[in-house]
Symmetry: C2
Subunit: 231 residues, 2 copies
């Protein structure tokens, strides 16, 4: 029974789609900065947070030595105690806040019960993305995670969608991308011949007009729980 359907794949983005990341990194970074300043980093907290944000902008958010550079910039040398304090605090707060949206699990169960196979397409590092699925305890729902690290191209590049469809043996016409970004998730998917559903997106009125005028198969819903109104 499932076999007839197994070219129907729902691909998910993770951050902001399955996983509630609103204010997540900011809260964790501010907690880390707070303890670093309390333990001797000689700036006030707002200044220190500003310096950290500049470093993150320059190095990218996947870089893992933001706090090392922060102490180098402020003190002229790396301070391993402050770096360790920042890293542990950031990590602990992030883990404490890591959670799926309220209706994520119900939606995954619903899609499986409808015979879809599930996978993730993500701009990021493969093992890190699986780590999130493991920590959320939803890894068993997914057959594959396709990442920009693996493919060498980021969403919305066609290659990452093509690799994902091939890997899952998905029929693009019967497959759907669910994400929160119009360009990466929406346009990327329709360019690959799939349809798309946007959740928690910040699409503007102009974006909606653009989608309508070009007859793009992109639907916009408020909440991941509303996926059952479409699929």
């Amino acid at each position: 029974m499932i076999n007839n359907d197994n070219d129907r794949v729902v691909f998910f983005d993770i951050d902001g789609t399955l996983l509630d990341t609103s204010n997540f990194a900011e809260t964790a970074r501010k907690a880390a900065i707070g303890l670093m300043v309390d333990n001797g980093l000689p700036l006030d907290k707002d200044e220190a947070y500003g310096v950290l944000k500049t470093i993150i902008r320059e190095k990218g958010s996947n870089y893992n030595k933001h706090f090392n550079i922060l102490t180098q910039v402020v003190l002229g040398h790396e301070d391993p105690m402050l770096v360790a304090l920042g890293m542990v605090t950031y990590h602990n707060v992030k883990m404490a806040l890591l959670r799926p949206f309220a209706e994520t699990i119900d939606t995954l169960i619903y899609l499986k019960s409808r015979g879809y196979r599930l996978a993730v397409i993500s701009n990021g590092i493969t093992i890190k993305q699986w780590e999130k699925l493991v920590r959320l305890n939803v890894y068993s729902f997914f057959d594959a995670v396709i990442t920009s690290e693996e493919v060498g191209k980021e969403k919305p590049d066609n290659l990452i969608y093509d690799v994902a469809l091939r890997k899952m043996r998905g029929n693009p016409e019967k497959s759907v991308m669910i994400g929160n970004k119009l360009k990466e998730d929406g346009l990327g998917a329709v360019n690959a011949g799939m349809s798309a559903i946007l959740v928690n997106s910040d699409v503007t009125e102009e974006d909606r007009e653009f989608i309508k005028k070009n007859k793009l198969d992109i639907k916009i819903i408020e909440n991941i729980g509303d996926v059952d109104t479409i699929l």
Copy 2:
């Protein structure tokens, strides 16, 4: 008042000395292996643990891709889901078990009240060692962490002890190394002109004879709480 005493330094080893690491890594690794096997790693748990131990022996315990290699060896390719599952489980169990010996904190308070300054001398990576002190919430007791990473030589090499004494401006004759290993902590310290105290050590009767015959200033106690019988 403290100033007269500030060339008196007590240096500590971390693992097995401040921190109860008995069966710690083994428990965490077995939990990780258990979940990896339950989720599809095609070996039985004892076999898989045996393969992991071989990898750790070959690569060293500070290497951070043991689980990647385990999946490569067993499956012929890296399986990022199983790697993520192993890493998260290992990390979570290790963090859950991370704790100081019962009398560690009392002993640190006692030594500070006696006017000693405290530091760590450790074979390891500087920020990782500070991370342990941060997670145990004892980092405020320590003025410095001197590591083999920083010095380029491991205990019992004289250089790491010399760098530590210089960095702390410690008088070797008034300073003490507290650790759990005769060679690394005991002999290393006395060769640098300091005395040493061994706790939780597995010194044999022969070791005790050797210490006595050579009149080495190495004392052996059962429990870190007994430091107050010596200092």
